[in-house]
């Protein structure tokens, strides 16, 4: 089952309101995405914790409707 890029962005921003989000549909199939997410919420957190915050925002879709989302996360530079 596919999910569109706008929906992924909306969910991430609902969970992390300050986030800058960039989504690329890697194969144009609505099933393989790459996302870059920058949010102050990531400050002081490990990469695992940062990705967990994004997965939380996606409310269980990751690993289900959303098969592949290559994630890159970081906190904003001061």
């Amino acid at each position: 089952m596919a999910i569109d890029a706008g929906e992924i962005e909306r969910l991430i921003k609902a969970g992390l309101p300050d986030a800058q989000v960039r989504i690329d549909d890697l194969r144009g199939d609505g099933d393989h995405y790459a996302a870059i997410v920058i949010s102050a919420a990531f400050k002081g957190k490990s990469r695992v914790q940062q990705h967990q915050l994004v997965y939380q925002a996606l409310q269980g879709r990751m690993g289900n409707e959303l098969h592949a989302l290559a994630l890159q996360t970081s906190a904003p530079q001061d």
Partner: protein, 111 residues
Amino acid sequence: MTDATVTDRIKQDITDNPVVLYMKGTPVFPQCGFSAAVVQILTTMGVKFKGIDVLADPEIRQGIKEFSNWPTIPQLYVKGEFVGGCDIIREMYENGELEGFLNQHGIAARA
């Protein structure tokens, strides 16, 4: 819900083996590109690891997701600690962090 025996099995595996990769398929025959990518990184670095095929065991497949609070496979554990999935391992490998991390944990690895 994951029952206690599944959690115990996971704890046992990540305690008994210094490097454990929960993956789809086996190290020799990975069944998913993301699992294959991590196998390739570990193999390139000469890291010995135990592969656990979640496709062969639905309880572990669900159990490890809950145990790690991580929705996808593969998942890499080093000395009982969850290190990450495919994206994190790839990023750590590419920026050279993975070698240092493994060495710090007493695991022989080359860049």
